[in-house]
């Protein structure tokens, strides 16, 4: 019979990082719990201790400037509704705003959605397209990890067990769009997600929910019209098959949705 996990609830970041340095392998950070609670309830994981981030004020907050700063504990709903985000980074507000339902968005956090690295999440593709960086801290120091390099595969990240995501920094773009293509309920995760951003002469297109990590091919975006780039993405990606669609179907949708994202970006 398992024992209930030990409950750690530090009130400062330093304390949390010290605990992680000491017990990184057995202490699991708990943010909004929308991902972890399902695993715990089904007993798919049985951690020795849970490290709640809820009391750490330094992890909250949303601030603007040259870059947008999203605290790791900012909730999806906060990002979605923030006037600052809507004004300066409307596509980010949208990508967080189309996640699941208000119930989930009131709880799910910015750090949680990046750290769980679910292949079918919405925000990662958008953050990749904007060239966002996660700021990771440990007792030993700080480093910035481009979101593109943070998520390395299905539920895998380049975070070390003693590190916490403390915030995400999102540069501005001239224009950005996010398109979520669902095949079932409106509260479903995407079957295909396309994020596109334009900054000066550079256009970035990232496709989410079709493989272990967001799919980005800078060389395919350099020339050609929207339809051509869509076809190239469809050719370049080896999509997975799941309950939301087969691999062959996803390829067709990628071509269409990338084209539509680029057309929208051009308006």
């Amino acid at each position: 019979m398992r024992a209930a996990p030990e409950w750690l609830a530090p009130s400062s970041l330093e304390e949390a990082l010290a605990l992680l340095a000491e017990r990184g392998d057995e202490a699991l950070p708990l943010a909004g719990g929308t991902f972890l609670a399902a695993l715990l309830n089904q007993r798919l994981i049985e951690p020795a201790c849970l490290l709640s981030l809820a009391r750490i004020a330094a992890l909250g907050g949303i601030e603007g400037g040259e870059e947008l700063r999203l605290g790791a504990m900012a909730r999806h709903r906060d990002v979605e509704l923030s006037p600052l985000v809507r004004e300066g980074w409307p596509a980010v507000a949208r990508a967080f705003g189309v996640v699941a339902s208000p119930r989930v968005r009131n709880q799910a956090t910015v750090g949680g959605v990046l750290a769980d690295a679910d292949y079918a999440s919405d925000p990662p593709a958008m953050l990749c397209a904007l060239g966002a960086r996660a700021v990771a801290r440990s007792a030993a120091g700080v480093r910035e990890i481009p979101v593109e390099e943070l998520i390395t595969g299905y539920y895998e990240t380049s975070l070390r067990p003693d590190e916490l995501i403390v915030e995400v920094r999102v540069p501005r773009a001239d224009r950005a769009v996010y398109r979520k293509f669902r095949t079932r309920s409106h509260e479903d995760r995407p079957c295909v997600a396309v994020a596109a951003a334009r900054r000066g002469a550079e256009t970035r297109v990232v496709v989410g929910a079709v493989a272990g990590r967001p799919q980005h091919f800078p060389e395919l975006c350099r020339d050609g019209d929207a339809a051509e780039i869509g076809r190239r993405y469809a050719d370049a990606i080896e999509p997975i098959a799941d309950v939301r669609g087969s691999a062959a179907y996803r390829k067709r949708v990628i071509a269409v949705e990338v084209r539509r994202a680029l057309e929208e970006l051009a308006t």
């Binding site: 019979m1 398992r2 309920s185 067709r252």
Partner: protein, 692 residues
């Protein structure tokens, strides 16, 4: 049960019932779709937990509401992935689950029947012999085909199909499929059992307390009076909680433990306990050039899984529902219920009418297309009207199919262009024959008590009957109480299914109140409907009155991805007289929303005989965000008319209405659900010129 108490979480459902000293049960299930059970060893389970193994239940009776094919645990063979092979009761659910891991089971895998085609090939028999049940749910003449996997065959012979076909100028033949679906009620199956002085007492969410009682009496060799079934309100059911599911196993555990035991299914186990029947229907229909139907043949096969449950009944209802509410002189129907090594399938809101309407009404639109006729015109030309004879030989009365169709069509502006629009009309029977009894007592402290077996599953039956009682008694609602049904106290009722309770019990109540007036203390009323069908000819009385409805849908299709957006959806349902208007409206809306799920994305998926989407993320049901802005409905009423049940009518016509809306764009689909991928394939067929 007031709305406040529901919203505030004060209602105590079966899963909340407790008794002193109660243990919690968990079930060990076969990982294989078909396997010989060589050995079950529970010796490692600690003494403070109680393990139930096949040897404990070998001597108990066999049960099954229509076919006796179930034992309390799988004895020598496990017949589906998820079949219970052992169970444990312990102080907490987690402790019980930990103990399951200590039970060793040795299996020898056997070849499995994974779908209808394999079942009909017959090289593997799921059951060696098929024994018809003596439960009163097996009332309709069950026709097993021994030595095959067909546990029931229902037939309709009306006129002479071959002769009729010769008169046809146009004939359509097509095959349609519907997948398994999951009911997904908020409260899973839950049951609490206790033995008291040799009597078995159960608190269980079920629509069928008397059928459960007789099956359990059989299993334990008791007199029916020595089994007591109490039915707390259910947190939803949609048909999932009809007949025995957890009850036998929980009772056997409680007997072995010598203590009360409660079993609440974890969500994932719902998908291996009861689903909707997958169906395969081939429809051949012929008409003369002016659009008069002359002949129809339906061949239907439903997959009932490893245990028949009420599958034979579903096959019978599909048999006549798939003919549809039409005047057709020559009809031949063969409807079979087939075993496979899949989890059992049973009653699901609509009881076969959804699968039947999907096939029958899609075929009508294909026929209209071939004839070059407006689909509404074709239907109105052939639809049953008062005094017409149905394929069962019965004369229909008080029918309003034409009016339902016209109302539904008008709601989506049918007259102003038909592109992207589709219709479906529905006929659904009510349990016939059946019997309902109800008692009304004058309570000691004033006021009245209703004693009746009608279960509350969220459909609002208690409220509806309390309203009727209040009117008949001339007493305010606050003076009428309606305790949980208890088979020790309430008089007999067939069951709370097929949208019959308000109608049947409402009628019985009138007599009960008259009797109470005479007696002063207690009055009992009874209402029966009579009829039934010959299983070999389908002739007789299918239904003492008809559930009637129609749906109309308007869609927009993203032709590059196949994504369907339902812009408008309207259901028109004949209600006769409405007892509880808000309740009636909610039934219509709930049915339509459930229909949307079936139409667009709900399907239980299997790989290697295992359910692979047994959670509410991989299996999705509609959310509030999926409801079209244009979701509307009508209740057709008639002064002085009978009450008509409304629990199901607006669901079955929804998928076919949406399928027909796609058909109007040349997108011809035959298989549910209408996932974008399926629709895109149909668009490809259309554009490739290969459309049938």
């Amino acid at each position: 049960m007031s709305r406040e108490s529901i919203l505030l979480g004060r209602v105590r459902y079966s899963q909340d019932r407790e008794l002193p000293g109660m243990l919690h049960a968990r079930v060990l299930r076969s990982p294989y779709p078909h396997a010989r059970i060589v050995r079950v060893d529970a010796s490692a389970v600690p003494a403070r937990a109680v393990a139930l193994t096949p040897d404990d239940v070998r001597g108990l009776g066999v049960y099954g509401c229509q076919i006796q094919d179930q034992t309390v645990l799988a004895l020598d063979r496990a017949l589906h992935a998820g079949d219970p092979v052992a169970a444990v009761a312990a102080a907490t659910p987690d402790e019980a689950e930990d103990a399951l891991a200590l039970i060793e089971v040795e299996y020898e895998e056997l070849p499995a029947v994974s779908d209808l085609e394999e079942a009909l090939a017959g090289s593997v028999l799921v059951h060696e012999r098929i024994r018809i049940s003596d439960n009163d749910a097996a009332y309709f003449g069950i026709r097993p085909e021994q030595g095959t996997n067909v546990c029931h065959r229902f037939r309709i012979l009306h006129g002479d199909f071959e002769v009729g076909l010769e008169q046809a100028d146009v004939v359509i033949e097509e095959t349609f499929r519907t997948p398994a679906a999951q009911h997904a009620p908020m409260e899973p199956h839950a049951c609490l059992a206790r033995w008291e002085g040799g009597r078995l007492e159960l608190w269980t969410g079920t629509h069928t307390p008397f059928n459960v009682r007789s099956d359990l009496a059989r299993v334990f060799g008791l007199a029916e009076e020595d089994v007591r079934v109490v039915v707390p309100p259910m947190g939803g059911s949609f048909g999932a909680k009809t007949f025995v599911h957890l009850e036998a196993l929980t009772a056997a555990l409680a007997r072995k433990a010598g203590r009360p035991v409660r079993c609440v299914l974890p969500r994932s186990e719902e998908w291996v306990t009861n689903n909707r029947h997958p169906a395969l229907l081939t429809v051949k229909i012929g008409a003369t050039a002016d659009g008069t139907l002359v002949a129809k043949r339906v061949d239907s096969w439903i997959d009932t899984g490893a245990y028949a449950d009420c599958g034979p009944g579903v096959a019978q209802k599909i048999g006549y529902s798939a003919v549809g509410p039409y005047r057709i002189p020559h009809v031949h129907v063969e409807s079979r219920c087939v075993y496979t090594n899949r989890p059992p399938n049973g009653a699901f809101r609509g009881f076969g009418a959804t699968q039947a309407a999907w096939a029958s009404e899609r075929a009508m639109d294909l026929l209209a297309d071939r004839l070059g006729l407006d689909p509404l015109e074709l239907r109105l030309r052939n639809v049953l009207r008062d005094g017409d004879v149905f394929c069962t030989g019965e004369t229909v009365r008080d029918v309003h199919f034409a009016e339902c169709l016209e109302r539904a069509a008008a709601a989506i502006d049918w007259g102003q262009g038909r592109s992207g629009k589709g219709l479906c009309v529905l006929l659904k029977g009510m349990q016939t024959p059946s019997r309902a009894q109800i008692a009304v007592e004058a309570a000691d402290g004033g006021g009245y008590t209703i004693r009746c077996a009608t279960a509350e599953l969220g459909q609002g039956s208690r409220r509806a009957l309390t309203l009727v009682a209040s009117e008949l008694l001339g007493a305010p609602l606050s003076e009428i109480s309606f305790p949980d049904p208890d088979t020790d106290i309430v008089p007999y009722d067939t069951r709370a299914t097929s949208s019959r309770s308000t109608y049947m019990m409402g009628n019985a109540l009138e007599e009960a109140v008259r009797e109470l007036r005479k007696d002063g203390r207690r009055g009992v009323g009874e209402f029966r409907n009579s009829g039934g069908l010959d299983p070999d000819t389908g002739q007789g009385v299918a239904s003492s009155h008809w559930h009637q409805g129609a749906a109309a849908a308007e869609v927009r299709v993203d032709e590059e991805t196949g994504l369907v957006e339902v812009v408008r959806l309207h259901a028109a349902v004949y209600a006769g007289r409405v007892v509880n208007p808000p309740g009636a409206e909610l039934q219509n809306e709930g049915s339509m929303i459930m229909g949307l799920g079936s139409a667009l994305f709900e399907a239980v998926s299997f790989a290697d005989g295992q359910v692979v989407n047994a959670n509410l993320s991989d299996y999705q049901i509609p959310s509030i965000a999926d409801i079209p802005d244009g979701l509307t409905h009508d209740l057709l009423t008639k002064p002085g008319a009978e009450v008509h049940g409304l629990g199901e009518t607006a669901l079955p016509p929804v998928p076919a209405a949406i399928g027909n809306a796609l058909g109007s764009l040349g997108i011809q689909t035959t298989e549910l659900p209408l996932m974008p991928e399926t629709v895109l394939a149909a668009i490809d067929r259309r554009d490739g010129g290969g459309v049938r």
